[in-house]
């Protein structure tokens, strides 16, 4: 039962997400990768252990062209798989409809090659689905799977993809940051609306810096303009699964909790001892974040944790 995985890229380079999707896909059968981007990304992809081959199409494809390419490759595979990323969520349902397949998306567990678990209601319930279709279109929540190690030199095949999209990409605006990518971070420091301002987020970033952490924010903090929307964690933002999540000035709205349920440990700093996040956290400190966080940075430095 062969599997084609659409590799996830970030600014033209292979994203660490790809190796996580490969882990999930390898449970289904032998895996080939499709890289839509530079040849260098395909070379990185070819190093992922267990991959049969890498196909590369050096284009920047919009959903309709990407789906046309996947459709031509679909005849050879039983499973067509991507990350549940903004690319996968855009393209895979379109592909599924073209192939007359009901897709299964945002998979967090694979119980057997046709039995999948996915969260619904913002992670407040888990749905188990049996997919008896001959061919499967799936998206995988990367944070639910560990990355596959590297150690391979799979052959690379170059594809020539004609462009036919009626839509045109005019501009991309990247949220530039020197902090780790949220979706793959081991430590995430998140700020809520209680941080109070974009300047206030500097306090969150300072703590993030000494921990080598990615920075997250609640929807309310993003809506208030304190943090860029690429930082949003929750049902409508990124889903994260770090070893440690430090929630600062975050009350814990259902919307936000949906994005952090995969965190192994949660620490909260909040003025309200009854906030939902405080009840959920492994350890919570009650008090003012602007007093606590600078002290916390000092204490962590004393313990030998430095950027």
């Amino acid at each position: 039962m062969s599997v084609l995985v659409l590799a996830e890229l970030d600014a033209g380079a292979l994203s660490p997400t790809t190796a996580r999707i490969v882990t999930a896909a390898a449970r289904l059968g032998p895996v080939d990768l499709l890289v839509v981007g530079p040849h260098a990304a395909a070379e990185t992809a070819a190093g992922i252990a267990g991959i049969g081959k890498v196909m590369v199409s050096d284009n920047n494809l919009l959903a309709d062209d990407l789906v046309r390419l996947l459709e031509t490759l679909a005849t050879r595979y039983h499973y067509l798989v991507s990350a549940a990323s903004s690319v996968g969520r855009d393209a895979m349902p379109r592909l599924a409809a073209k192939l007359d397949i009901q897709p299964v998306t945002d998979i967090v567990a694979i119980e057997s090659p046709n039995r999948f678990v996915r969260p619904i209601y913002a992670g407040n319930a888990l749905q188990t689905l049996v997919d008896p279709q001959e061919k499967h279109v799936l998206t995988i929540r990367a944070s639910a799977f560990a990355p596959t190690a590297s150690g391979n030199a799979a052959p690379i095949e170059t594809l020539d993809t004609p462009l036919a999209s009626a839509a045109r990409l005019m501009a991309t605006h990247r949220t530039e940051s020197d902090v780790p990518d949220l979706a793959n971070a081991r430590i995430v420091v998140g700020g809520g609306v209680a941080v109070g301002s974009a300047e206030g987020f500097q306090v969150i970033e300072n703590l993030g810096k000494i921990l080598g952490a990615a920075i997250g924010a609640t929807r309310a903090a993003v809506d208030a303009g304190y943090a860029p929307n690429a930082w949003q964690v929750g049902q409508t933002g990124k889903i994260i699964a770090p070893d440690l999540y430090i929630a600062i000035g975050i009350s814990g709205a259902l919307q936000h909790l949906a994005g952090i349920q995969g965190a192994r440990r949660i620490v909260a700093i909040n003025t309200d001892p009854d906030a939902p996040i405080v009840k959920l956290a492994d350890l919570a400190l009650i008090g003012d974040l602007f007093e606590i966080v600078p002290q916390l940075i000092d204490e962590l430095e004393k313990l030998g944790i430095k950027s």
Partner: protein, 253 residues
């Protein structure tokens, strides 16, 4: 320009859901229902385009049991001109819904179809891109801004690493993200007026499509519970806990 907006009725997003004890699903009987928040952004976008003189007709469509008329009326009160209910009591999969909507698109021939980017019940986000596939139209999902300029749309999309700007020729399919706009609450006179607007009820069977589910739901379960933690007595205790966790994580690498 004619706009079709597809909306979904879901358990109100402020309601804490209850899973049925037999694991067959989420309890919806006696639970407050409302229009999916993302669909509200789609309706609002359509109404704003009409107010700006860019659109002359807004048709709102939903699929489901008769009770779904509530959310169609909400959209009519917000400013849509007429409604269509594709009536069915069956619990349809996203592909079946997209196929019914494609049949409506074939009848109505809208220049623009607006949908929410996902519904907050099943969190699928399938229907917009599926409808684009079935009607062979270009798509722009997760829109945070829409501008119409002659026969083209300019859409800003929210993507994982920031934003991107697309231009699409009409007809096209666009799905709405939260920052697209601030949906209005319809004033009471508009709600009264909405009841006088045309609302067609079309049995799903009328479309002659095979709507049978492709997947089997084996069960619905609550997520694993987190054990409630404790409160730290000092910043030093918090720092020690963080340091231990960080070092344990490093050891696993």
């Amino acid at each position: 320009m004619k706009i079709l907006v597809a909306v979904k009725r879901v358990v109100d997003h402020n309601v804490r859901i209850r899973i049925r004890p037999d694991g067959s699903g989420v309890e919806t009987n006696g639970v407050r229902m409302s229009m999916n928040p993302f669909c509200k952004h789609a309706v609002e976008a359509a109404v704003q385009l009409a107010e700006a003189g860019k659109a002359d007709e807004i048709v709102v469509v939903s699929v489901g049991p008769r009770a779904v008329n509530d959310v169609i009326l909400t959209a009519l009160a917000m400013g849509a001109h007429r409604g269509i209910l594709v009536e069915t009591d069956a619990d349809l999969e996203t592909l079946a819904i997209a196929r019914l909507l494609a049949a409506i698109v074939a009848e109505e021939r809208p220049d623009l179809v607006l949908l929410g980017k996902q519904a907050v019940d099943d969190d699928s986000g399938h229907v917009g891109p599926m409808l684009a596939a079935l009607t062979d139209r270009p798509q722009a999902s997760f829109a945070s801004a829409i501008a119409v300029d002659g026969v083209e749309l300019e859409v800003i999309r929210e993507v994982d690493h920031g934003r991107e700007t697309l231009r699409l020729p009409l007809p096209a399919i666009v799905t709405a993200d939260l920052r697209l706009n601030m949906p209005r609450n319809a004033a009471l006179p508009m709600v009264m007026k909405a009841r006088a607007k045309p609302l067609a009820i079309r049995p799903a069977a009328e479309f002659g499509l095979d709507l049978a589910p492709r997947l089997q739901v084996a069960g619905i379960a609550p997520p694993p519970e987190r054990v409630a933690g404790r409160k730290a007595g000092s910043v030093a205790e918090l720092a020690a806990f963080i340091a231990t966790t960080v070092r344990a994580g490093e050891a696993l690498q």
